[in-house]
Amino acid sequence: MSMDMSQYLDVFLEESREHLVNLNERLLELEKNPQDLSSLNEIFRAAHTLKGMSSTMGFSDMADLTHHMEDVLSDLKEGVISVEGPIIDILFSCFDRLQIMVGNIQKGQPAVNNTDLIEMLGNIKNGVLTASTPQHNDDTPSTSPIPMQTDTDQNITMPFEFNQYDLTVLKEVQTRGLNAYYISVRVAPDCLMKSVRVFMIFKSLETDGEIIKTFPPAQDLDEGRFEDRFHMVVVNKLDVEAIRERIDAISEVETEVVQFIDLKDHKDANVEDPGEKSPVVHESPKTSLADKLPDESIRSHKVKQTVRVDIERLDNLMNLVGELVINKGRLEQIGLTQHHGDLNDVIEQMERITNDLQNVVMNVRMVPIEQVFNRFPRMVRDLAKDLGKEVEFVIEGKETELDRTVIDEIGDPLVHLLRNAVDHGIEYPEVRRQNGKNSSGSVRLVARHEGNNVFIEVIDDGGGLNLDLIRTRAVEKGLATLQEVNNMTPVQVTDFLFRSGFSTAQNVTDVSGRGVGLDVVKNKIESLNGEIFVDTVLGKGTTFKIRLPLTLAIIQALLVKVGNETFAVPLSSVDETTMISKSDLKMVQSQEVVLLRGKVLPLVKARYLLEFREHDNYEDVMYVVVVRKGEKQLGIIVDSLIGQQEIVIKSLGKLLAGIPGVAGATILGDGAVSLILDVGTLV
């Protein structure tokens, strides 16, 4: 797998599983009703998609198998061959194998040899129907102990070699007219009591025969200490089919190989090996197995240049870099006071390195938004289909990267917006035609970087929002008076949509539902330090625009002093800072205000908001931080301004969660903890 592909691995695995589930269901349907062409088509599509996906990702084993499946399926579709028992079985075997392969890919285990299935698929295509389950390929020489590697290696070979004693026993049983078989059994991976299955198998085989060797050793098997496969050599009078039947009668187990042991092969092997006289040399399949266990084959597979890292470790790394940033800030302070040339040089270097390091760590945490976007095409298609609408869905900028923490949170809000766009934005085809539009609507999902922000837009070319209806609705709901709404700007009007419960009423035709859950969307995005805007033209369409910060871990903040305490205000919510004198203060309806460039700015004292004991007196000159809360501005009076600084956000933990006005804490250069104010909930 190449490096740039690895990031899609999760998506690949997830989607593969979806396709496999689908494949399974459809196979079951096809089995019930072999004439069901739609199931066949669906199976074909699933196989085709899996082929495409796996070959893109470089999993050639999977691509190869699905390719051959596709061949057979296309013949089935065209009626060249008909759907009959063994074919379904083989397709099911292929499905099982695909599941194993997907599991292996997830676990980073090696590719699987599918020659057996591919051969059978080839046989079907050539009109030769063979046994319905994969069999061991007899061409491979089976005298050397090929380890069973992983549970994936379907090309199973006996993991034993027979020593002189075994051979004597085997010879003897053959003279008595009994047959010796090598049997390999697989227990379902989720089987809870493996030892019980083993017991049942042993019991059923020992009624009229004998188990003379097992791998792993019988004791391990009794205690369930094996992966999902074990091997044994059995002597009895039964034939291959009868043995299979017996074992397969036990639930959750599957016979993989039942192979008649021809003693001649082994004699030959022994003759070639003069050391055979000492049985000890060959008697320990265990050690030879241990030596050859999968490492090597896996290692050769692990030439990928990526490492999957627990996000928690990255968080730790981020924290450490945060500490470094804090101390860098402190060094800078010292440098300023010391006026020492060399020191300042070093500090400058340090600063550069720290900044680089910070960028690198942030980049490591970045993932393309594609991960989230990828699930949308299907969703939009399904939704449009259900609603009887025609929607052309376009995604742009899916390579845009965002911090992992943001990525995890952004999915649901986008689902909401897309659903709204398809459900309420895009009109029905006939309506669109009447309005002179293309009958198929367009929904675009666009992501892009802009400075330290990422913008995500959901753009539809539907009916747009009827602002007058929203105005009426707002008045009905008692959110504003008629006069107020008529004086409102379009932005102020659309703001109503984000009020909770705004359009729960069903009777407002065009707009109804447009606001369902939009308050939730807004809250979510604001909790990510983002913003959401809406832009709409009646009859032309609506655009929802989301602004998100690149990361949540380190932010720019304005440090202010209140009393002898320092607080951090995220710069994203600060509009400006200003200085006012006591004489500028005015009272309007018992609210202190100040005129700032002709606009009335309501004021509130930080001392009051932050529960300081003394908050009544006014200084002659006061510092005001002008913050934005939604559309409104507000001035917060603080004692002094310290300056702008990068801060590392730290959570206050469960015990202090949800305190209004406090977004978290940060550690300052001097080691003191400073609280980060959350303007949204502070006032």
Partner: protein, 141 residues
């Protein structure tokens, strides 16, 4: 109840004990940053090697007047699963073993509302230690 090891400390004139297994460390009182709008019993937050940890004031919780001389005061830091928290105490005396037989059931001694975070009362050499269930005390349980 079997023998337990407790960290014994004082708040006001009363001796208390907490199970040593829940104690992460005992530190000297650091600068505590006040958290406005937090509960009355929360003294603030401290910076413990880069981690922000809330600190509770049990004087307020137990209605004991604050101690004048804070020279011996310590913060006991507890670790519960993914949560850490500290309590300020007037002094940590020792770590001791208390035999299960020497622990009285809380209900027999305490009849107040607070009884639910009192695990029991331990008797050691004529001293009485109130054994606290800190998880309950901090509202984590």
């Amino acid at each position: 109840m079997k023998e337990i090891q407790v960290v014994a400390f004082t708040i006001g004139s009363q001796e208390y004990g907490v199970d040593i297994l829940s104690v992460q460390e005992i530190i000297k009182v650091l600068t505590i940053t006040r958290v406005p709008r937090a509960g009355r019993f929360i003294e603030g937050v401290i910076n413990l090697r880069g981690n922000v940890i809330p600190v509770f004031d049990l004087h307020k919780r137990f209605g004991v007047p604050p101690t004048e001389d804070a020279g011996e005061a310590r913060i006991i830091v507890f670790q519960f699963e993914d949560t850490r928290a500290g309590i300020i105490v007037d002094g940590v005396s020792e770590v001791m073993r208390i035999d299960g037989d020497a622990i009285e059931d809380a209900g027999q001694v305490y009849r107040s509302v607070d009884a639910d975070f009192v695990q029991g009362v331990g008797k050691v050499d004529g001293r009485l230690l109130i054994l606290l269930n800190v998880k309950k005390l901090l509202g984590l349980e």
